[in-house]
Assembly symmetry: C2
Homo-oligomer: 364 residues x 2
């Protein structure tokens, strides 16, 4: 396999960890990273350790909030527990802030344009920005297409409705020569891929059940925004009511549940992505999970079960389970880079457009 | 997705069942099939039911033996329990034999050449021939390359050493424009793909353990050849000694084990295919399983476990389990056609060469 160069948009939780995971991958070279105020580019490969040290404060939720206020952006309205802890928050200490604090970086007012300007030699871009509005990531994709970028774009978004917005832009992405993989984190992403593979025993899939467990005690402070969004999935709440809650109200709710929030029938893009891949109807997919804010141990084992009928008339259930010791972060970033690499292969061959993770698996 | 046309070489167990499974796939159209003595081609789509009825006797092992004697071929030396029950055996009843008995077919002395002659409009070819000698399937691939076939070839072979023979031919296959997927059945294939996906949580994979269960009571008579080959994996046996055994000696051995044969450290291509994909060293992969010849129920649950270390330093094990009700046949043929479809996508984009199933998964 050729070497693959990639950029990271956003150095919140996901962006930082993607850089960290890439250190273990000989054939992946991070060459650019940015946040709101800084951009670092080195076509020979960034010094990841230095950059991570410089962006250390990026995952604090208070920083996120401050940054939202400065930029006038809406609070984050997308994503849930398992992936969307990426943040545009900025380092609060040091002479500069965030990426700009790195010796490899320059301050900028137009970080995405700066990355686009360097994108001729960048094979892939991981969009690790909070999806501030539903069409934020689709609009970022559009900007790359308008600049005739011919590489790979990967995001880790989660809401079903965003997929349709990307589809609307498919022709434009195709014309530019972009291979876009949407929803390539843990769920959708890793677990959607597992469902697509598990379906291979069957000629008809009856039901896909995705059930996740996340223990977030030590990461709670860094993931308050995510928790707020997850609350929108609870009975009696929606995005608007969750957004309107004060921190105190959220604490109260968490206390009422003894720190353990259980979610059912979440609006996760797994459903539309599996339907896209022809595996089952979106309505046959259920996503739920348990978030424990007072323990790091997972409160339940992350499990994908796929029930279907074989060609010889048997009904059976195939199961994929993640070891409880695998963190949310490991299960987001490994797959994000894994799908990125697969997409680069497709892109180099000339296979462009919008793909869900399940479409990069064996066909159903 | 476009419609995909495909041919099946060999109408033994795997070939027949691939045709049957394809009936459930709207976008897969079988347009050609052959065995030693007959070839059926219909570019609008074969009548699968009629063809299956005509080739009904093809999976009898006695027929296999008779056919080997007629053709002067060596007995089958490749494959094991889970996939290699494809057979060149021929129908023993009716005016014609095997495929030639179909109203859609013509008798032939050169079935593969006949398929090659029609291959301009065939997107993919499933090679469901017994790999009579280790280089039999590689030589079949060579013939397609020599004829400048520009499509997909898929096999379900299992022995590690065959992969190298395909690699030696990679340049020739690439030059012709062929995308060859080797080992795309249950194991390797389905389970190698599962291991590749399960590895995504980790930055380093310590161990992959593939453990299968097959219950074969009702299929024992049809799979005597396969059982003989599996015996070669038992302690104290190898391919030569197993081949030299009489049917009576095999019966005796099966009796000694009360019909249940347990295998450890099998030479299965899973190891080299996972190493090829950069996931782990071949020596970190173990393959074994239990074959029950007196029950149709699986004697053990088919399970893939992948143990590795995450980027944040945790060691964990991810697990993929197949429902016990899924037959060997379902787990061979679904994935074989699934990888075939994925390969067609790569092929159409211009991505040629030799691929293991794990290389068609998210990159590691």
């Amino acid at each position: 396999m050729h070497e693959t160069t990639f950029a990271v948009l956003g150095t919140g939780g996901i962006g930082r960890r993607a850089l960290e995971v890439s250190k273990a991958k000989d054939d992946l070279t991070p060459v650019a990273a940015c946040d709101r105020h800084g951009v670092a580019v080195d076509h020979d490969g960034l010094d990841v350790d230095e950059l991570l040290a410089a962006t250390e404060g990026n995952i604090a939720s208070e920083a996120q909030r401050a940054s939202d206020e400065v930029s006038g952006d809406q609070p984050r309205t997308d994503g849930g527990t398992t992936v969307d802890d990426s943040s545009g928050g900025i380092k609060q200490a040091g002479a500069d802030k965030g990426v700009a604090a790195s010796v490899q970086a320059d301050p900028t007012d137009a970080p995405i344009d700066d990355i686009i300007a360097e994108s001729d030699t960048i094979d892939a871009v991981l969009i690790a920005l909070p999806n501030l509005e539903h069409d934020f990531i689709p609009r970022v994709a559009e900007r790359f297409a308008e600049a005739d970028y011919e590489g790979v774009l990967v995001d880790v978004l989660k809401r079903s409705r965003v997929i349709g917005m990307l589809d609307e832009r498919e022709e434009q992405l195709q014309d530019a020569g972009i291979t876009f993989v949407c929803g390539a984190g843990a769920t959708p992403g890793f677990l959607t891929g597992a469902a697509a593979l598990a379906a291979q025993s069957f000629v008809e899939v009856h039901e896909v059940d995705i059930w996740w467990g996340v223990g977030l005690k030590s990461g709670y402070e860094d993931n308050r925004g995510t928790v707020r969004e997850d609350i929108a999935h609870l009975d009696g709440y929606d995005i608007e009511t969750a957004r309107a809650m004060t921190d105190e109200e959220i604490e109260e709710l968490v206390d009422e549940h003894d720190g353990v929030l259980e979610f059912h029938d979440m609006e996760h893009a797994d459903d539309v992505l599996l339907e896209r891949a022809g595996i089952c109807d979106a309505e046959d997919v259920t996503v739920g999970g348990v978030l424990d804010l007072r323990n790091d141990e997972k409160p339940t084992t992350t499990t994908v079960t796929v029930t279907g009928e074989t060609f010889d008339g048997e009904v059976a259930t195939n199961t994929f389970e993640l070891g409880d010791e695998t963190s949310m972060e490991a299960n987001v970033n490994g797959p994000a880079l894994g799908y990125l690499k697969a997409a680069v292969r497709h892109n180099r061959a000339g296979d462009h457009g919008v793909f869900g993770p399940a479409e990069l698996m064996p066909g159903f």
